[in-house]
């Protein structure tokens, strides 16, 4: 059995799965249930200014029968009295000393407020802080949340205030509602943050009610931009994570990966791209805390299969596999192959290629089943057919190098090799 225990900035947890700062970590009742279910740690829902929430708070995007492919919320930071939160945090730490207790913070935008809040939270025995510089709604209008994270200078200033006072590790959570997460990431690392986490939610409108014409979520005939998360945002999160993991400066600090992590495979992908652990919310909100069981077991089995003894053995392993386009090998070529024994003749590969790609899949009429074959000369190796094929491993891509030696775009241009030749 592999060792899946995690050590993030000295904050130890039996597994790398933390619940992200969100409604599931709003109070003791939920957090104890999460710990009982096996979660490695929690980031307690953001403490800070006093707020008032509205109803409703969530909306989602469904996709062909799958519910909550993307999830959107307009809930603010914790709306419970600070004293109660602090008392409950303390109790949870005491009851589950082996789990990570990180507390998310978003104080009013002045040094004193941050210092006071830090002091109070440290008294609970919590193990670390996560600075909420990402919340895209409600708090930004008051100069907090994403308003801080979107401006590297302000972010830097706030982190400096925090580092003056904090005696436990500080993680800064980045907003994705920027062109690039790197400038803010660099600024806060320079300011001394011990770690980074990303991404927070992405501003969104999930849809419009076709009867009332009011976008969702609905609040008395109106709506507001919310924060988008869940499986739909995972690819965006992975990209942003990669930029942080590749940057010379930001890669110096540990990263906690967030954004649509729903199962152990997602978690492994985040970790391969540089996250030391992951934070989960939407999947738990959809299915409950029990999902952590398979996350642990799946991770363990995968690590055993791959021969990894501990998490550090694979964290970051894929970071340098993402390169610049001009570094790609132009001589690499592959062609789709359809396994006729597996083909169920649905024609999806054909119509996708025929209508939207390169007319590389030939239809030979049959009754009732047509036969589909690849026209090698037309196939550009784009993968589309393989992606739309409903049968596992029916369409595979077969390597057919143009030439044995690799050549990239820069070299290609240098040699004056032909362009637009397909």
């Amino acid at each position: 059995m592999a060792n899946i225990s995690s050590n993030f900035l000295g904050i130890k947890s039996p597994n790398p799965f933390w619940l992200a700062s969100a409604p599931p970590t709003d109070k003791k009742y939920n957090v104890l249930r999460a710990f009982e279910a096996g979660w490695g740690g929690v980031v307690w829902k953001t403490l800070g200014s006093q707020v008032k929430n509205v109803s409703s708070r969530y909306s989602s995007v469904d996709y062909y029968g799958k519910k909550v492919m993307g999830f959107n919320n307009i809930e603010l930071i914790s709306d419970r009295p600070l004293d109660i939160n602090l008392k409950e945090i303390k109790e949870c730490v005491k009851l589950f000393p082996d789990r990570a207790m990180v507390v998310s913070l978003m104080a009013d935008n002045n040094r004193k407020a941050w210092h006071e809040l830090i002091k109070k939270v440290e008294d609970t025995g919590a193990h670390g802080f996560e600075l909420n510089f990402g919340c895209p709604h409600g708090m930004t209008e008051r100069g907090m949340g994403a308003a801080v994270g979107q401006d590297p200078e302000i972010a830097c200033m706030v982190v400096e205030w925090v580092m003056e006072k904090a005696t436990i590790p500080v993680i800064t959570k980045l907003t994705p509602n920027v062109h690039s997460v790197v400038p803010t990431g660099r600024a806060v690392v320079k300011a001394g943050t011990n770690g980074l986490s990303l991404i927070n939610t992405i501003q969104s409108v999930t849809g419009v009610d076709l009867d009332t014409y009011v976008p969702n979520p609905y609040v008395a005939g109106k709506s507001v931009f919310g924060g988008y998360c869940g499986p739909a945002v995972k690819p965006i999160a992975l990209k942003m994570l990669t930029t942080i993991a590749q940057d010379e400066l930001t890669s110096k600090v540990p990263i906690s990966g967030i954004g649509g992590v729903s199962d152990w495979k997602d978690a492994v992908e985040f970790m391969l791209l540089g996250a030391s652990n992951v934070q989960v919310c939407t999947a738990a909100m959809k299915f409950g805390f029990r999902i952590v069981e398979d996350m642990c077991e799946g991770l363990n089995n995968w690590m055993d299969e791959k021969g990894f003894k501990k998490l550090d053995d694979f964290i970051g392993k894929s970071v340098n596999k993402v390169t610049h386009w001009e570094d790609l090998d132009i001589n690499y070529h592959h062609i789709a192959r359809i396994n006729q024994d597996k083909c169920i003749h649905c024609g999806l590969c054909h119509i996708a290629c025929e209508d939207t790609s390169h007319q590389a899949i030939k239809l030979t009429p049959g009754n009732p089943y047509n036969t589909y074959t690849i026209i090698d000369d037309n196939c550009v190796g784009c993968n589309l057919c393989m992606l739309v094929c409903p049968v596992d491993h029916c369409i595979t891509m077969e390597e057919h190098r143009v030439a044995p030696e690799p050549i990239n775009w820069i070299e290609w241009q240098k040699r004056g090799l032909p362009l637009n030749d397909h």
Partner: protein, 450 residues
């Protein structure tokens, strides 16, 4: 042993004749199933449908909350889409071709999804079609069955006024009179018919029978074209001794009776033998059992490999507790006081393939006897050969001969459906009606310039 009606309580009848393949309970259930559909291109299921309904499209439309569009997609190809969803042998048509079969997975429940959309159209009386401007042409259709109504609906849409002449008291043909009651109820048939005719331009004259109170000459005089969709008649004679005995019943007449009166009025024997293994044989056997017969035995002279009914139909019969004797050919029906007492069958074996390509049954010389008080013949329906001959309509053993334009030997007279094919599925008749409608359109419009 006796042939009796009123064998069961009203509750038992209601239970026995309740919907065999109920519709989806709710929208969620339908959408879960609809989302399984892969949306195949040039889909094999469409090729399995004689009316070529764009199945992937109508299923996709259920998933996008466009049920009205879904119903239109179905009904534009098959105006009996709702009825066919209940009576089609789908496992050898659309569902049989579903690509999921190749994954050894359950095929998409196309029929139930089709029912979902098309019945919603009927229930809500969605007007999905508009008639084109009148062409001023009139067409007579003989027979308000699936072929006749399908033809009439297309013609009416194209701006032709159609009058249908029907010998029965109600329209729908076999759908109303010849199919098991647990598949389609009289109410459903009436609703479907009302929906079809709600388009307008289709007038149905009932109790009008060709060769009796309806003359083909008159029709030719008064209409621009005539479409004969007269179907086929009662069960052919099996020509064995005892066929005339009291208790020997024609399956078509038996089902007709059952479909036109309360269940407790239809009499059935204690022990029933059903001859044949087609869909009508199954409908007769299962319904005998459901009417309260103690024993029902189906006799078929070939084996399961050659049977005309589908596996699914056979499974209904088996689940209803009907016994099946393969390789059994009726030889003689024995009577007592003019009533059926038993049936003697020859034991058969399979010989060489016959004209149908199926191995033909050969008498082994051995016999066996079954004690029964009722024998239902379901060995194929007899076409209206004499009637056609008297009208000088060219036919082969009662099957009307038509050319590639659905035209008979008499100019302006077209034909289709069971009257031409000898008796196939409802869905085949619907397609025949569509084919005839386009041929008739061409014919009547070409005559505008004559």
């Amino acid at each position: 042993m006796a042939i009796l009606n009123n064998r069961l309580s009203q509750e038992q009848y209601a239970e026995n004749f309740s919907d065999e393949k109920p519709a989806f309970e709710n929208k969620t259930a339908a959408i879960v199933e609809a989302n399984r559909c892969l949306f195949c291109y040039d889909a094999p299921c469409i090729k399995g449908c004689p009316t070529s309904i764009d199945i992937p499209k109508f299923i996709k439309q259920i998933t996008t909350d466009n049920v009205k569009g879904s119903a239109h997609t179905i009904l534009i190809s098959n105006i009996f889409g709702a009825g066919c969803a209940r009576v089609c042998p789908v496992e050898k048509l659309c569902e049989g071709n579903c690509v999921y079969n190749l994954l050894e997975e359950e095929p998409i429940q196309i029929a139930r999804l089709q029912r979902y959309s098309s019945e919603m159209a009927i229930e809500n009386n969605w007007q999905l079609f508009e008639r084109k401007k009148s062409t001023g042409k009139k067409v007579a259709v003989v027979g308000a069955g699936p072929a006749g109504l399908s033809c009439a609906h297309v013609l009416s849409r194209e701006g032709i006024d159609v009058t249908i002449f029907e010998k029965e008291e109600k329209g729908g043909g076999l759908m109303t009179y010849g199919i098991a009651a647990y598949k389609v109820s009289p109410e459903f048939c009436e609703d479907e018919l009302a929906f079809i005719t709600s388009l307008g331009g289709i007038d149905i004259q009932y109790k009008q029978e060709l060769g009796k109170n309806l003359s083909l000459d008159e029709l030719q005089k008064n209409f621009d074209a005539v479409y004969l969709a007269i179907g086929v008649g009662e069960t052919s004679k099996i020509n064995i001794p005892g066929e005339e005995l009291n208790g020997v019943v024609d399956a078509i007449r038996f089902i007709h009776e059952l479909r036109t009166q309360d269940f407790n009025k239809t009499a059935v024997g204690d022990s029933v033998a059903v001859i044949g293994m087609g869909m009508t044989a199954i409908d007769a056997a299962t319904q005998s059992k459901r009417l309260g017969a103690k024993e029902v035995t189906m006799l078929y002279r070939r084996t399961e490999d050659e049977m005309p009914c589908t596996e699914y139909e056979l499974s209904i019969a088996k689940q209803d507790g009907c016994s099946i004797i393969w390789l059994a050919a009726p030889k003689e029906i024995i009577g007592e006081n003019g009533k059926v007492k038993s049936i003697i069958c020859s034991k058969m074996k399979l010989g060489d393939p016959d004209a149908s390509g199926r191995r033909s049954p050969v008498d082994t010389g051995e016999i066996f006897t079954l004690d029964v008080d009722m024998v239902i013949k379901a060995t194929g329906q007899k076409p209206f050969e004499e009637l056609l001959n008297s009208l000088n309509i060219k036919n082969v053993k009662g099957r009307i001969s038509i050319d590639e334009n659905c035209a008979t030997n008499i100019k302006g007279i077209f034909a289709g459906g069971d009257a031409v094919n000898g008796g196939k599925e409802v869905v085949n008749a619907v397609q025949a009606g569509k084919d005839a409608a386009s041929a008739i359109m061409k014919y009547v419009l070409s005559r505008i310039h004559e």
